[in-house]
């Protein structure tokens, strides 16, 4: 699809991973709106319809409930469906299936039924997509036992995590930030790498302040950390990668090292995923803390089409930088 030497974008790696998994395992199927003939509105499934046929790459009606629900039933009968929602914003219609059905199935059948489905959706804002093409809704799934929630930040992790998600025997909710789809290229050497779910990645080491984040937040943190480095502030960046269950040991390690914590995500602040990490730290790592636990998220608001309001609501590197400096000075 692309010159491997130049590196691949997240979309390309996701595409290549899906294709490789479909080649590897005939039980892997893809379903969703426009995933077939069109190859997906973001082209993640480009060409798969021609290669694997209209049944393994199923163009569905606009029916989020049955996209999720049929994926669940098919998974119970031996398939490994990857169900795509065209935008995370439209997953809400399938909430009952994911939360009441997929998440409970194994537990409520005392282990007898498995639901190996990946629920994929592009999420995130900053693209002038307005109320319905911008949401970051991972917290709505992080609260639900029986699910795993994954948000990759880089092309390589996107591939390795998707591979792990497809092979996982439990339902995985997989959010891809649409503004990261084509922003970065990365050379992904190992095309069979499985990035284990539930394990964070130390994106950058540093002894002064820890930023714990995921997805788009990783890139905001990198930018802010670069700017702070000029003033001798060493920032450690922990990319959670999996939000549920999150990597408590990795969080504990970085908190022990710096004692100062900034949490960053694009999801709304209130009752967002950062609240959980902060609460975990305040409860179990309290004595390691050298200052308040700061949180940056979207300003508890829907996201607009127009730029000025959108920028005002979304977190950005400047705000991350400011918080880093505040903590470093503490």
């Amino acid at each position: 699809m692309a010159d491997p030497q130049a590196g691949r974008t997240m979309v390309q790696v996701l595409h290549d991973t899906l294709r490789a998994e479909m080649l590897r395992d005939p039980a892997v199927v893809v379903m969703g709106q426009d995933v077939g003939i069109k190859g997906g509105v973001f082209k993640v499934t480009d060409g798969l319809h021609a290669e694997f046929g209209p049944m393994r790459v199923l163009d569905t009606p606009i029916s989020e409930i049955v996209i999720a629900g049929a994926a669940i039933g098919a998974a119970m009968m031996g398939l490994r469906p990857v169900a795509e929602f065209q935008f995370a914003d439209y997953m809400h219609a399938a909430y009952d299936q994911i939360v009441n059905q997929a998440a409970t199935m194994r537990w409520r059948s005392v282990g007898a039924w498995s639901v190996p489905v990946v629920f994929r959706a592009p999420s995130g804002g900053g693209v002038h997509g307005g109320v319905y093409h911008s949401q970051s809704i991972e917290a709505l799934y992080g609260h639900i036992p029986g699910l795993r929630v994954v948000v990759p930040a880089t092309p390589r992790d996107a591939g390795g995590l998707l591979r792990a998600a497809i092979r996982d025997d439990d339902p995985v909710v997989f959010f891809e930030h649409k503004a990261l789809y084509r922003r970065h290229r990365e050379i992904v050497a190992d095309d069979a790498e499985v990035v284990p779910l539930g394990v964070a990645r130390l994106d950058r080491e540093g002894g002064d302040v820890s930023v714990i984040t995921y997805g788009m937040g990783v890139h905001l943190a990198r930018e802010a950390a670069d700017r702070c480095a000029a003033d001798g502030i060493a920032t450690e960046i922990l990319d959670l990668r999996t939000l549920s269950p999150f990597d408590r040991e990795a969080v504990a390690r970085t908190v022990a090292r710096t004692g100062k914590v900034l949490l960053v995500h694009e999801a709304n602040r209130t009752m967002g995923p950062a609240a959980e990490i902060a609460a975990f730290i305040a409860e179990e790592l309290f004595t390691d803390l050298d200052g308040p636990i700061l949180r940056i998220g979207a300003a508890d608001c829907h996201l607009p089409y127009n730029g000025p309001e959108e920028t005002a609501i979304l977190p950005d590197a400047a705000r991350v930088e400011e918080a880093l400096r505040r903590l470093a000075a503490h």
């Binding site: 409930i65 098919a74 005392v110």
Partner: protein
């Protein structure tokens, strides 16, 4: 909708349906008693629906076709080979219950080996699962049919529409069976839908629809067999409405006060069991004393199962979070009483 030269009903099937119905009724009765005694929780009954359930399940290939049921479908479960003992283990909240380890309310069956999907209390949520199962059969090239039972109340859910539509688009091998008792708890059919028959909806999904007297075992079996074989042969989905009475209140916690005494009496009068018994007796397939013995033995069997179940331990609290994710040691399953060694429900042993 029936084929030109319809094959006859298999020998002995009606009697087997009746036998399973009698057994189902006995379990149902016992669970109701247990809930009245406060020993079982919230109980839902199959009473009035059993014959429709069992006769339709009888058209399946057991363990090959999948069953997607709702909470009232005890008849489907027992027809496929679930034992009263298992159901009582669940109702009495015993850890050995293989269906849900007593995590779910009474009668929420689940059995991968019998291909019974885990029943969800959420109305209609299983209908997309059935369609997904049919889709999986298509992808895997299996000739298995997904059977999906639900109440009239489920017909109003968005999930039902989406599922039937997808099945229609791809002519997937599903049989939709609506057990229409004209009530969703207290809400009468006229407040649920503007059509008289749920099967009137079939044409919206380009599938055949048929309304059948759900107290007529032969009619139910024949119509279901035609739909199953059509599905298996690539002819696509069907929607069958099985008209049944709801003889009990909605549940053990419902007072049924919204129905008049006449309505309740009419439902009781439409009981399919006496009807089937009379047919069998008339046709010389059942003797009166044989019937009495069958009923008595069913009761005894259920009481014996209850005693066994009561002797089993409750789940251990330490177990509460087990099986949230893959990787836990398997549930021990159930050791069935010896009398169930060859139990295959309504199917020929």
């Amino acid at each position: 909708m029936s084929e030109p030269a319809e094959p006859p009903i298999p020998d002995g099937l009606l009697l087997r349906i009746y036998r399973v119905a009698v057994l189902t009724r006995a379990v149902d009765h016992q669970l109701w008693l247990l809930s009245r005694q406060g020993r079982a929780g919230f109980v839902l009954t199959a009473r009035g629906h059993e014959v429709a359930q069992i006769a339709s399940a009888a058209a399946m290939r057991r363990g090959h076709d999948s069953a997607w049921c709702y909470y009232r479908d005890m008849g489907v479960g027992i027809a496929l080979g679930v034992t009263p003992y298992e159901i009582l283990l669940g109702g009495l909240a015993r850890g050995a219950d293989p269906h849900s380890g007593a995590r779910q309310l009474t009668m929420h069956l689940s059995s991968p080996s019998l291909r019974i999907g885990s029943i969800s209390s959420a109305i209609a949520a299983h209908i997309p699962h059935a369609v997904g199962a049919a889709y999986a059969a298509r992808v895997r090239g299996e000739d298995s049919v997904a059977m999906c039972w639900f109440g009239d109340g489920a017909a109003s859910e968005g999930a039902t529409h989406e599922a039937m539509n997808l099945a229609g688009v791809h002519r997937l091998p599903v049989v939709f069976l609506c057990e229409n008792n004209r009530l969703a708890i207290s809400v009468p059919l006229a407040l649920q839908m503007p059509v008289e028959r749920v099967s009137d909806r079939a044409s919206a999904y380009a599938m055949p629809g048929e309304s059948v007297d759900g107290t007529d075992a032969e009619a139910v079996f024949t119509a279901t067999r035609a739909a199953v074989e059509r599905a298996r042969g690539g002819g696509g989905p069907s929607l069958l409405e099985l008209r049944v009475p709801r003889i009990t209140p909605h549940s053990s916690q419902d007072d049924d006060a919204y129905r008049s005494a006449e309505q309740r009496a009419a439902a009781a009068a439409a009981d399919p069991l006496p009807r089937l018994r009379e047919t069998l007796i008339e046709r010389g397939m059942l003797a009166v004393d044989e019937d009495e013995r069958m009923v008595r033995e069913a009761r005894e069997q259920v009481v014996a199962d209850e005693d066994l179940a009561l002797a089993m331990p409750e789940p251990l609290p330490e177990r509460a979070r087990r099986w949230l994710y893959a990787g836990d040691p398997p549930h021990g399953g159930v050791t069935l009483p010896a009398r169930y060694a060859n139990w295959t429900g309504v199917f020929d042993g």
